[in-house]
C-alpha cells in the first residue's frame, strides 16, 4: 500500500492529526530518508515528520534568495557564536540538506573508523567491512560516479591544473547524480532533477512502500513514559510563512529515530528531558573558507559540476580542498570592493574561479535550545585550527597561480586584497592565528549526541539507542564521535542504514550483547 507526503494544505481544517507507526522518524534528510527506505523495505510501518515543506521534483527558482527562503533553514542566516560569527548552513525541506548540497559522496576514512573502534565508540554493527558493503549498495542506488568531461567545467578543470601544479594529487569528485547537466546550481536545488537527493530517491521509495511523510510539521518533543519513548508531538506550520495548522501526535510502537541533524537533534533530546552529560556538547565541524582567482580566459564557474574536483592529498594535515561554484549573488558578495570597483569586478565574474579548504577542526562547541524553539550554537576554533587555515589558504593561492591565475583574491584580513605573484602568499606566514581574519562557513556538523558503549562517554550506544531512554535512537551525524575530514553524507547514510537494519531485525543481537 502506498503512503503519502502531506503538507500544511492537506491537513488544514483538522483540529489535530493522530497517527501511529512501528517507527517514527524525525527529519527526512540523509539519515532519516535512508532509515525510512530500509525500514519500509523490511516491511515496517513508518511515519516521517519533517519541518520543511514538501519539495518539488524540479523547477526550483534559481535566484539564491528564493532558494535560501524555500529550501534553507532560516535563509542560511543562522550563525555559531564565538570570536567569529560563523554561518551554519542547513537545508529545511523534504529531503533535508541533501536537496541543497554539493552531491559529494565520500566514504568514511579508514583511519577515522579505526580511531572510533579503538576508543570503544563502535562495535561490530559498524564494522568496516559491513560499512563497505553498504557504501557499495548506496553507490549503486544513488548513482555515484565522477563528473564526465562534457559537464566537468573550467572551475574544476583549472583546479586539477592547480593541484598538480603544486605537486599534489587530486581527483574528480564522486557525486550522486544521474546524467548531470552541469548547471552548477546544486545549492539552489537541482533544476533538472539530476542530483539524487533524498526527495527524489529514498523518500519516494519509502512512500511507495507505505511510509507517511508529514511535511511542514515541526516536532517539539518526544513523549516518554516509564523511561521509554512512546510518541512524538509536534505542530504543522509553514516554515517560510506564518500559517499554522493542527497539532500532531504520532504513537511509536517500536522506536523513535532522531534524524533532525547535529544541531536540531540535541535540541530535541534536551526538550524531551534527555539533558546533562554530553548532550549538545562536543559539537564539531569542518569550517570552510575560499579563495578566488581571476584568469585571462573565461572560467564560467556557472557551468559544470558544482563541485567536481578535490584533493585529499593533505588529509593527514586535517585539510581537504575542493572546487566550489556558487550562484552569482554569492560570488558577488565574495568579490573584493564596493561601488565602481565592485561593479567592474562583477562584470568580469565569468573569469573568476573559486576553490575552498575545509579543515577537520579540533574545536568543540556546544548546542543548546534557543529562543522561539530554535537552537543556539557556541563554537570557537582553536589556535591550531586557525594555523591550518593559514597553511590551507596559502596552498589555495599557490594552486591558483599554478593554474595560471593573473590575480588572486585571498579574502583574508591583513593580506593584500589582490595578489599578482605567488611570492606574495608568503605574507601568510607573518600573520597571527586570529580567526577574525577569515570568513568561514560550516556545513558539515557532528558529535552532539555521540555514540559510545560507556554512558559516561556517550549519549547513545553504538547501535544508536539512547542510553537514557528506551526505544529512542539517534541516527544522524550527532552520533559521530568525531568529525571525519571528508564530506559526511555518504557516512551518514551508511550508518543510518546499519542502525535501521538492526531495528528491522528486532534489535535482538544488540539486546543479547547488552544482556551478556
Amino acid at each position: 500500500m502506498s503512503g503519502f507526503v502531506h503538507g500544511l494544505s492537506d491537513v488544514a481544517g483538522q483540529a489535530a492529526v493522530r497517527d501511529s507507526a512501528d517507527v517514527v522518524i524525525i527529519g527526512s534528510g540523509a539519515a532519516g530518508a535512508t532509515a525510512a527506505r530500509v525500514l519500509t523495505a523490511a516491511g515496517l510501518d513508518v511515519v516521517v515528520l519533517e519541518e520543511g515543506n514538501p519539495t518539488p521534483r524540479d523547477g526550483f527558482r534559481q535566484d539564491a534568495y528564493s532558494a535560501f527562503k524555500g529550501l534553507w533553514r532560516d535563509l542560511g542566516f543562522t550563525a555559531a557564536r564565538g570570536r567569529v560569527l560563523m554561518p551554519i548552513l542547513q537545508g529545511r525541506a523534504v529531503g533535508g540538506t541533501t536537496v541543497i548540497n554539493g552531491a559529494i559522496m565520500h566514504r568514511l576514512p579508514e583511519k577515522v573508523h579505526a580511531a572510533w573502534e579503538h576508543d570503544g565508540a563502535i562495535d561490530d554493527l559498524l564494522s568496516y567491512a559491513g560499512l563497505e558493503r553498504t557504501f557499495d549498495q548506496l553507490d549503486r542506488e544513488l548513482s555515484v560516479g565522477p563528473a564526465p568531461d562534457a559537464v566537468f567545467g573550467q572551475n574544476n578543470a583549472l583546479m586539477h591544473a592547480g593541484v598538480t601544479g603544486i605537486g599534489a594529487k587530486g581527483n574528480r569528485i564522486l557525486r550522486n547524480v544521474q546524467d548531470c547537466e552541469g548547471s552548477a546550481r546544486c545549492g539552489q536545488g537541482c533544476p533538472n532533477a539530476r542530483k539524487q537527493s533524498m526527495h527524489l530517491t529514498y523518500i519516494p521509495q519509502a512512500v511507495a512502500a507505505g511510509a507517511r511523510v508529514y511535511a511542514a510539521c515541526r516536532v517539539s518533543k518526544v513523549e516518554t513514559r516509564g523511561g521509554k519513548a512512546v510518541a512524538v508531538l509536534g505542530e504543522f506550520r509553514d516554515p517560510t510563512g506564518s500559517a499554522r495548522g493542527p497539532s500532531i501526535r504520532v504513537e511509536a510502537k517500536r522506536a523513535v529515530l532522531l534524524a533532525a541533524s547535529a544541531i536540531q537533534t540535541p535540541v530535541l533530546l534536551q526538550k524531551s528531558g534527555v539533558r546533562g552529560g554530553l548532550v549538545g556538547r562536543r559539537f564539531q565541524a569542518h569550517p570552510g573558507t575560499s579563495v578566488m582567482g581571476v584568469f585571462e580566459d573565461e572560467v564560467n564557474m556557472f557551468f559544470g559540476a558544482t563541485q567536481g574536483y578535490e584533493t585529499t592529498h593533505f588529509w593527514d594535515e586535517r585539510m581537504k580542498f575542493e572546487s566550489v561554484s556558487v550562484p552569482a549573488e554569492i560570488a558577488a558578495t565574495r568579490l573584493p570592493g564596493f561601488g565602481a570597483p565592485l561593479q567592474a569586478r562583477l562584470a568580469n565574474v565569468g573569469h573568476v574561479a573559486q576553490w575552498g579548504v575545509q579543515v577537520r577542526a579540533e574545536a568543540h562547541g556546544r548546542v543548546r535550545p534557543g529562543l522561539g524553539g530554535g537552537s543556539s550554537v557556541s563554537y570557537d576554533l582553536t589556535p591550531k585550527d586557525v594555523a591550518r587555515y593559514r597553511v590551507g589558504v596559502r596552498r589555495l593561492i599557490e594552486m591558483m597561480f599554478a593554474a595560471g591565475a593573473k590575480e588572486v583574491w585571498p579574502g583574508v584580513h591583513g593580506l593584500p586584497t589582490t595578489m599578482t605573484s605567488p611570492d606574495q602568499a608568503r605574507a601568510l606566514d607573518a600573520l597571527d592565528d586570529d580567526p577574525r581574519r577569515y570568513h568561514f562557513i560550516a556545513a558539515h556538523l557532528f558529535g552532539t549526541a555521540a555514540m559510545h558503549r560507556d554512558p559516561r562517554a556517550g549519549v547513545v550506544r553504538p547501535d544508536g539507542r539512547c542510553h537514557a531512554v528506551d526505544g529512542l535512537y539517534v541516527i544522524d551525524s550527532s552520533l559521530f564521535p568525531t568529525n571525519l575530514g571528508v564530506n559526511p553524507q555518504h557516512t551518514i547514510c551508511a550508518i543510518a542504514w546499519k542502525i535501521a537494519e538492526r531495528i528491522a531485525d528486532g534489535g535482538t543481537r544488540g539486546r543479547e550483547r547488552d544482556a551478556a
Partner: protein, 139 residues
C-alpha cells in the same frame, strides 16, 4: 524596519552597486525594487538577523564616514565616496566593523545580482523567466 531606516539602507545598496560604472552593467541597485526585498526579509529572516541589519544600517549612516576619517554625513557624500566609506570599514581593525559592510553587501547582492535582467546584463545564463517574488510585490 522603519521607513527612514529603509531609505538609509537603500542608499547604502546604491553605494554598493552604483549605476553607470564604465565597463560594467549600466544598471545599479537603484534600478531594482529592493524595498520589496527589505519587506520580504522582515517577514522571513530570523529576528537577530534583522536586528543586525538594522544596526549595520545605523552605524554606516550615522558614523560610517567618521569612522574612516571624514567629517560628513553618509547621505551627503557623492555616491563614489560612499563606496569608499564602505571599503574603509571593510578594512577596519575592528572585526565587528569589518563585518558590517560585508553583511550589507551580501543583502545588496542577493537582491541586485539575483535579478534576471542584471544576470542577463552580466552575460550569465538565466533560468528564471520572472524576477523573484519580492520584486513582483508578492510575499
Amino acid at each position: 524596519m522603519l521607513a527612514f531606516e529603509r531609505r538609509w539602507l537603500l542608499r547604502i545598496f546604491d553605494a554598493v552597486y552604483p549605476r553607470q560604472t564604465p565597463g560594467a552593467p549600466t544598471s545599479g541597485a537603484a534600478d531594482v525594487p529592493l524595498e520589496g526585498l527589505i519587506t520580504d526579509l522582515g517577514s522571513h529572516a530570523p529576528f537577530d538577523f534583522m536586528l543586525g541589519l538594522r544596526a549595520a544600517t545605523w552605524v554606516v549612516t550615522l558614523f560610517g564616514p567618521l569612522l574612516v576619517g571624514r567629517l560628513r554625513r553618509f547621505g551627503s557624500l557623492p555616491v563614489s565616496e560612499r563606496g569608499e566609506v564602505l571599503e574603509g570599514l571593510a578594512h577596519s581593525r575592528l572585526y565587528l566593523l569589518r563585518e558590517i559592510p560585508m553583511l550589507l553587501k551580501m543583502v545588496a547582492s542577493l537582491g541586485y545580482v539575483g535579478m534576471p535582467d542584471v544576470q542577463r546584463e552580466l552575460g550569465l545564463s538565466v533560468v528564471d523567466s520572472q524576477p523573484p517574488s519580492w520584486a513582483r510585490g508578492e510575499r
